[in-house]
Structure formats: structure tokens, C-alpha cells
Amino acid sequence: MIASRDKAPEREDIEALLPWHAAGTLSRRDADRVEQALAQDAELARRFELVREEMAETIHLNETLGAPSARVAQRLFAAIDAEEDKTTRRPLKFDLGGWLAGLVEHFSPRALAWSGVAAAVAILLQAGLLAGVFLGERGHSYQTASYGEPTASAPGAYALVRFNPNASVGDITKFFDQHKASLVEGPRAGGIYRIQVSKTNLSRDELAKLVAQLAEDKNVVAFIAPTP
């Protein structure tokens, strides 16, 4: 009797955890406790089924709520564009070429001759830095869980693209609309995005032709290549 009274608070604790057990968001330790209790307590197992029923209908209900209209994204990115115009926030980039050009303007011919040597050194240095950045980014590349590599059976044709840094969100959105393309994954290392360029499978020649067409949009596309 005493033992059963002692078990009552423990059972209440376990019962309170059932919703999170159904959702799979308990720690391993708590999940094990719940599993053990469920195996030994038929009434608790019956109540767990009620929880699962509630969860299924909650998901069903939420999934039927629809999605916001495209106007929300248009309004949001218009607001972001407007903020960008007002603020001085910029990507953390250093324009070595621009810096050198500005410097050269103020030099005498003799100084310029010497600066030729300095420029050569600078170019080598920049090459070294770029290689370092490239290798560093490769080392820190990541893969999204929700946008994993498609399976071989996934229909459609795809390309890897790096957008022109001067392209606005409006330009990119227009690019997607015009070419009926959509963003699949990214950014990967080096600012590369994977995009779907056709909803149906294309032959290698067809895809190459389509990619060549897309590459002509140089205001938006800095680099593009077919990908499986």
C-alpha cells in the first residue's frame, strides 16, 4: 500500500511527460523512464494513445492552415531594401584592387616603377589569401538537413550558381520568375547556391543549352554550371 502510494507521484510525473514523449523531444533518460512505465502500466499506455491521437489531429489542423501569400515576402524584402539604402551596413569585404588603384593615383612615375614590384608582391599575397579563404571555407562547409542532396530519382534539372554581388533581391527574384527557376539549397561554401532550372528531367545537351542561356543574364549570374 505504501509502495503504491509512493508510486503515485512518479506516475504523475511520467504522465506529464507523455506529450513530449510522443513528440520525441525528451532527453534519452526521460524517454527511457517513460518507455519503462508504458511497458508496465496498461492504463498509462492507453492514455499515451490519447496523446498520440491529440498530436496527430493538432498536426492535421496546423497543416490545413495554409501559407502566407507571396505579398508578405515582397513586402518584407522591399522593407529590407529600403533599410539597406538608409544604413551603411555592408558585407565585411576588403577591396584590395580598389585600394591599390587609389594609392597609385597619388604616386610619381618613379614611385610607380617601384610600386610595380610592390603590386606583383601584392598579387601573390592576394592569391595566397584567396587560396586560404577557399580552403578555409571548404573546411567549414555545411549541409542543410531540410535541403539535403536529392536522390537519384528526384525529377528536374539543376545548376550551381553564384550570384553577381551587385544583383539586388529584386533582380534575383525576377531572374527566378523569368526562368521558372527555384532555389533548392545554399549558400554553400563560396556563396554557391543550388537551383532547379527545370521541373522535368533534361538531357545533358538540353541542360547545357539552358545553362548557357541563364549565364547570359550577367547582371544576376556571376557563375553557373550544370549539376546532377
Partner: protein, 211 residues
């Protein structure tokens, strides 16, 4: 129920919530996107928006009683805040938890501007009166449909916690962080939300034998 928050609190931006083991890969990717957003990468913002806007919209839509126009305005505000505050995100919580916390704050602020009685009337109007003829209702509709009707009839406070746990898959700790209540209260509130749901079901002719 009272939602009183005069100023946007700091905890909204950097709350010490720890990501559970589930979804770790997703959190890492979101974290990288938010770092890029902090440097002004608008494309990273597009990706983050594409990934999360539907769930955030549905969460907000349920909080504001189904008013789609209000919900759309609010999610636009939520993501604009993300754009502005990305540099303050400390990645101690999952990005989705951070988004839902901002969304909740925005939704409750909007609700404060609207009389609660009006919301309750809307909620009540959204379902049929189960007391009219429970047996007939139970016969006509399947149990799932009745359950969904009763979920809609819960108070905003109870709807919120059920959605966070069942649909948004938030742990006890994360719910506590989003709602701003102790973890023990999260469990108690969830229990009472489920109890109320059972009462509504019983009134609609579905006796589950619990509680």
C-alpha cells in the same frame, strides 16, 4: 488571460535555451544563415525565410484567432526583426525557437490592441455549439474532426502550448523559454490544456475516459 509586455525584452534576442539533440543539423545550418544575415546577405535571408515562414505564420495565425491579414503583417515584422537583430543572435537556442519567441511577442502585442472579448467571440464562433445535440454531432462527424474542432475551441493560452509541443516539437525547456514561464508550469499548463480538451470532447459526445 493577461499578456502585458510594454517593451521588447532583451531575452527575446539572446535567451539561454539549449537545443535538444533532435534537429541539430538544421540548427547548425540556420546558425550559419543568421551569421550571413548579420553581414547583410539578403539571399541568406531569403533562404531562412523560405525555410521557416510557413510554420511561423501558422503559429501566429493560431495566436491571433485565425485573422490571416493580421498574421501576414506580423510575420513580415518578425522577419524584419531577424534582419535587424541577426547580429545579436547568440545561437544558444535553435533559430526556430528564437523566431517563435519573436513571433509570440509580436502576436501578443497585436492582441493587446484588440479587446479580448472580441477574440473570445471569434473563437466561439469558429466552432459549432457541441452542446446542441452531441450524439448527432458525434454520429455525423468522425472523431478526428471533432477533436480538431475542440482544439480550435481551446483558450489562446492552451492552444499555444499544445501547438508548441505537438506541432512545433518544442521541448519543455524551449516552451518555457518561448512562453516565459518556469518548466514546471509548462508541464502543468499542458496537463490542463489536455484536460480542457477532454472536457470539450465529452461535451461533444466523445468520452475518452480521461481524466
Amino acid at each position: 488571460m493577461t499578456y502585458v509586455t510594454d517593451n521588447e525584452p532583451d531575452w527575446l534576442l539572446a535567451r539561454p535555451i539549449h537545443e535538444p539533440t533532435v534537429g541539430g543539423m538544421q540548427a547548425t545550418s540556420d546558425e550559419a544563415l543568421i551569421s550571413r544575415i548579420a553581414t547583410g546577405d539578403r539571399l541568406a535571408m531569403q533562404v531562412l525565410y523560405a525555410r521557416h515562414h510557413v510554420r511561423v505564420y501558422r503559429f501566429v495565425l493560431r495566436l491571433v484567432g485565425g485573422n490571416a491579414a493580421v498574421a501576414e503583417d506580423l510575420i513580415s515584422d518578425v522577419f524584419l526583426d531577424v534582419w535587424r537583430q541577426a547580429g545579436k543572435f547568440e545561437a544558444r537556442s535553435a533559430a526556430s525557437t528564437w523566431l517563435l519567441a519573436i513571433a509570440r511577442f509580436k502576436a501578443l502585442s497585436a492582441m493587446r490592441r484588440k479587446p479580448e472579448e472580441e477574440l473570445d467571440e471569434e473563437t466561439a464562433g469558429a466552432i459549432e455549439d457541441p452542446a446542441d445535440d452531441p450524439e448527432v454531432t458525434a454520429q455525423k462527424k468522425d472523431k478526428g474532426e471533432i477533436l480538431r474542432k475542440c482544439l480550435t475551441a481551446l483558450s489562446p493560452e492552451h492552444r499555444e502550448i499544445i501547438d508548441l509541443v505537438y506541432y512545433h516539437e518544442k521541448s519543455v525547456e524551449e516552451v518555457a523559454g518561448i512562453v516565459g514561464i518556469p518548466e514546471a508550469t509548462v508541464k502543468t499548463r499542458m496537463f490542463y490544456a489536455r484536460k480542457k480538451l477532454s472536457e470539450l470532447l465529452k461535451a461533444a459526445g466523445v468520452d475518452r475516459g480521461w481524466p
